[in-house]
Symmetry: C2
Subunit: 480 residues, 2 copies
C-alpha cells in the first residue's frame, strides 16, 4: 500500500512526517499492531499513529507538534511492562511514541564507572557494553533481552540484584528528558554527588512517561566481580528464611547480591510443567532460598564464605539442607528453577498476581495472616509465593483450587482476593506495587490506598509539569 | 523579663503561643541570637520570632498560622549548614522554625534494617541508637555532634562514607513532611521497593526546606562490620591516586568505604598549626590518600585485603609508600589528619572555599588545568586541595600567598577565582555544589551555570508546591 493513500489531510500526521520522515510514522493496522497490546495481553488500545523518532531532537519536535495539535502521547520502550503503562487507550486519538530507534551507547567511562545510553537501548545491550568495558551493569530481569533502559527508568524496574545494587533509580546518575513543552533538559551528569537544586532526575524516574519523556541516561557501573556463586538452602518457613537472610547479611554484607524465596508449591508447579528442571534436594522441604554472592576476591573466597554462613545456619537450626553450585551450569540451573515459576504458573492456568512489598521484618506475619484470610475466603485456593525476599518484595500469587475452573474462580474471587491482599499489605505498611509500577492496571487501587495528601501532591506535580495532560494520560494517577 | 511584656498584640505571635506554648516562641534578641547567624558566620539575619514546636502536629499548626498571617518560615536544624540555608534574611519579617525539639527515635527495626527518627535528632544520636540495635547508620560528617538528621536530609548531606553507602538521599527510605499548606504527608515507609507514583521523597530531600518541612524519616541501617581498617598511601599525583582507587575498588569492591585525597600542602598546614598531628611518613610525598575498608569477616581479612591491594599498587608503580593503622588509636590519628585540614586552613587565615565535583575520570585534568589558570590569575595563591576523591568531590580551596594579606587578597581575587573554578567545573560536566547545597550562598552562581530549562522546571515545582512562596524564600532558587 502506498503510504500516501492513508493520508486524510491530517495536519498532525503531516507535521510528524515532515519532522521524522514518512517511514517512521506508522499508521496501518498491521504496522501498528505490535505497539497496541501490552505484554500480558490485558490491554489492547488504538492509536492515531505510532511515531518512531530517531534522535532526541526529533522526540522534542514530535512533542511540540503534539502540543500544537493537542494530541496525547504514549511513550513506549520494549513494550514488556506488566501494568499496561505503555498501551494507548481505545479512543484512537492518542499517538504511541516509540523510543526504539534511540539505541546508541553514547559513551562509556570506565574510570568514572558510568555509561551514557539512549532510552531505546535494550537492557541486555547495556549489560554487554558494560562488560566490554570490563565493568558490570547490575540491573537484571527476565525481560532483559527486549526491555529498554528507558522503560526500566520510566517504571523504576527492580529485578534480581536490588539487594546490593538498588533499583533502576539507584543505578541512575543523570537523565536527558524532553519536557511536556517540547524542550530538552540535559541533565546527563555522571556525578555521585550534586546538590544544586531540586531532584528532577528522580521525579522523572518512575513517572511512567506522565511528566516527560526520558531520551537518555547516565547509569552507574561497577567493577566486574571475580566470582559469582549461587546456592540453594532448604528452610522450614518464611520466618526461617528471614533468619537465614540475617545470617547471610552479617557474614557477607554487601557481597550478598541475591536472596530469593520459593515455596515448595512453586517448585512443585515447576516440576509438574517443566520436568527437566530437577528438584535439587533428595527430599521435599517447605521453602527453598536461592542465595547469590558476588565476590571481588576469588571463587574460593566466595565458596568459603558460603560454607561458613551455611554452617552457622545449620548450627542455629535455621536451615535443613543446602547445595552450592559447583559451576556455571549448576548456577544457571538454580536460577532456572526460580525463573520457571511464572512460566509454570501460566501453564497451570489463569491466576491472580500481586507484586507487593512489606517491611522485611513483617513478611513472615504477612504471609501467615494473608494466607489464612485467603483460605477462608476462597477455600482450596493455592498460594504461589516467591520473590525477592531480601528486598521485602513478594510475588504473592493465587492459583485456582486443584482441578477447578480458572475463569469461574477468577470471576468469583479476583476482586475480593485483591482487596484482602492490598488491605493487608497496607495494614503492614507495605506497597501494592513494589516493582511493576501503576500503569493503567492499578490506578484505581492506588487511589484507594494512598492518602488524600499524597494524591494531591502528585496531582500538583502533574499539573505543574504537564498542564495540558498530554503525557501518557490515564496512567499512574487519575486526575479526577 | 515577663514574656507578656513583649507582646505587641501581634496576632501571628499570639496564635503561635496558643499553638505551641509561650516558652517555645522565642522573641528576645538574646533568646534568638543563636538562630540568626550561620555556622560559618557569613550571614546574620533578623527574625520576628524563633518557633520551637514539639510535635509534627505543632509544626503543621505553625505552618497554617504562618499561612493565615502571610509569614515566611525558615526551617532550621542544628544550624551547621555551610551555605546559609537556615538563616533568615535581614527584614525581620520571617520566622525561624526550629525542629530541635522533635528529637525522638520513634522506632528501630533491626530485622528490616531501618530506624525511624524525628527531624531534630542529632546525627550522633541516630548513629548511637543504631549501634544499640547492633546496626550501623553510616552517615558521618564533621558536624555529627550537633547537626540534625532533618538538616542532613534537607541538604542531602554527604560526608566520609558516600563511596559505599551513598548520600543522605540514598540512606532514606521514607519521610514525614508538613506541606506548605500545613498538611501532614505520612510517607514513613520502610520499603526497599515501592513504585506507586511520583517520588515525593526525593523531591523534599535536598530542597532545603523550600518545598515543605521534613519532620521525620525512615533511614536505612546496615549490619555492623566486623572490622574497620584505615591506611595511608603516598602517591605522586591525583592521577596516581585515581589509579590506586581503581586498584582498591577492583580488589575490595563494596568493602572500600572511604577514599580521601590530601595534597602535601594540606598536611603541611596541619603540621604548621597542629604540630601534635604527626606526619605519617619518613619523607614528604606530593599526595597522601586515606583508605578505609569495612569488613564483614574479620580484622585479619581486612588486613590481608589491604596488603594485597597495596602490593598491586607497588608492583604497578602507583604508590610510593603505605602505612596501615594497627589499632583504633592509629586509625583515629589518620582520620584526624584529614579532619584537621579545614581547621588548619582557618588558622592560616581567610580563604576561598569550593565544594565541587566532577566525573572521577576528569579529576586529574581538572586539578591540573584549574591550578594553572589560578596560578596565572593570582600569582602565589596556594591551593588547598583535599576531599572525597572516591566520590569525585573535592574541597578545592585557595589560600592567600605566603605572607600576604588575606582580606586584600580576597577582595581582589575572590570573585575572579570563583568564576575560574566554576567555569572549569562546568566545562568538565561537574557541579558547583557537591554536598553543601545552595542555601543563599550560591543562588546567583547556580542561576548562572544552570540551563534555562532546568531553572524553569525547578521554578514550576516551587510554584506548584509553595504557590505563596512562604517556605524558606530566597534559598536554592531565585524566583526572579
Amino acid at each position: 500500500m502506498n503510504p500516501t493513500d492513508l493520508s486524510t489531510h491530517d495536519a498532525f500526521l503531516d507535521a510528524c512526517i515532515a519532522a521524522i520522515g514518512d517511514a517512521h510514522v506508522l499508521r496501518t493496522p498491521a504496522d501498528m499492531a505490535g505497539y497496541l497490546t501490552d505484554w500480558r495481553k490485558r490491554y489492547t488500545g488504538q492509536a492515531r499513529a505510532v511515531l518512531r523518532p530517531g534522535t532526541t531532537e526529533e522526540v522534542a519536535a514530535i512533542v511540540r507538534i503534539a502540543g500544537a495539535h493537542d494530541v496525547a502521547l504514549v511513550p513506549q520502550g520494549g513494550n514488556t511492562g506488566l501494568s499496561g503503562g505503555a498501551t494507548p487507550d481505545v479512543s484512537g486519538t492518542q499517538a504511541v511514541l516509540s523510543l526504539a530507534r534511540l539505541r546508541a551507547v553514547r559513551a562509556i567511562d570506565p574510570a568514572n564507572n558510568t555509561i551514557t545510553v539512549e532510552a531505546g537501548c535494550v537492557l541486555a545491550d547495556v549489560q554487554r557494553a558494560a562488560r566490554e568495558g570490563n565493568r558490570l551493569f547490575p540491573l537484571s530481569l527476565a525481560a532483559e533481552g527486549s526491555c529498554t533502559i528507558g522503560g526500566n527508568l520510566a517504571t523504576n524496574a527492580g529485578g534480581t540484584a536490588v539487594l546490593c545494587y538498588g533499583t533502576t533509580r539507584e543505578l541512575c546518575l543523570g537523565l536527558e528528558v524532553v519536557t511536556p513543552s517540547g524542550e530538552i533538559w540535559n541533565g546527563l551528569r555522571g556525578l555521585r554527588k550534586d546538590n544544586t537544586g531540586y531532584d528532577l532526575r528522580d521525579l522523572f524516574i518512575g513517572a511512567e512517561g506522565t511528566l516527560g519523556i526520558i531520551t537518555a541516561a547516565v547509569m552507574k557501573l561497577y567493577p566486574l566481580p571475580a566470582a559469582q556463586m549461587t546456592a540453594l538452602a532448604a528452610v522450614e518457613s518464611p520466618h526461617a528464611a528471614l533468619k537465614l537472610l540475617d545470617i547471610a547479611q552479617r557474614a557477607a554484607g554487601p557481597l550478598l547480591t541475591g536472596f530469593e524465596l520459593m515455596s515448595d508449591f512453586c517448585l512443585e508447579l515447576v516440576g509438574r510443567h517443566f520436568p527437566e528442571q530437577r528438584y535439587p534436594f533428595s527430599q521435599r522441604y517447605p521453602q527453598v532460598v536461592l542465595l547469590e554472592l558476588s565476590d571481588n576476591e576469588s571463587e574460593q573466597h566466595a565458596r568459603d564464605l558460603f560454607e561458613g554462613l551455611m554452617q552457622t545456619a545449620f548450627d542455629e537450626g535455621v536451615a535443613h539442607d543446602a547445595v552450592v553450585a559447583q559451576n556455571l551450569t549448576e548456577s544457571r540451573a538454580f536460577w532456572n528453577l526460580r525463573e520457571h515459576i511464572p512460566l509454570a504458573q501460566a501453564e497451570e492456568g489463569l491466576n491472580i498476581k500481586h507484586d507487593i512489598a512489606v517491611p522485611i521484618s513483617r513478611i513472615g506475619h504477612f504471609i501467615d495472616e494473608t494466607g489464612a484470610l485467603i483460605a477462608q475466603a476462597a477455600p482450596g485456593a493455592r498460594m504461589v509465593v516467591f520473590g525477592h525476599l531480601g528486598d521485602g518484595n513478594l510475588h504473592y500469587n493465587v492459583q485456582t483450587p486443584e482441578g477447578g475452573d480458572p475463569r469461574a474462580f477468577l470471576k468469583t474471587y479476583q476482586s475480593a482476593l485483591n482487596r484482602i491482599v492490598y488491605d493487608n499489605v497496607i495494614a503492614h505498611q507495605g506497597t501494592i506495587s513494589a516493582e511493576h509500577g501503576i500503569g493503567q492496571l492499578k490506578v484505581g487501587d492506588n487511589a484507594r490506598v494512598k492518602s488524600p495528601v499524597e494524591l494531591s501532591l502528585m496531582r500538583a506535580l502533574k499539573h505543574a509539569l504537564d498542564p495540558h495532560g498530554r503525557m501518557n494520560p490515564g496512567k499512574v494517577i487519575d486526575l479526577g
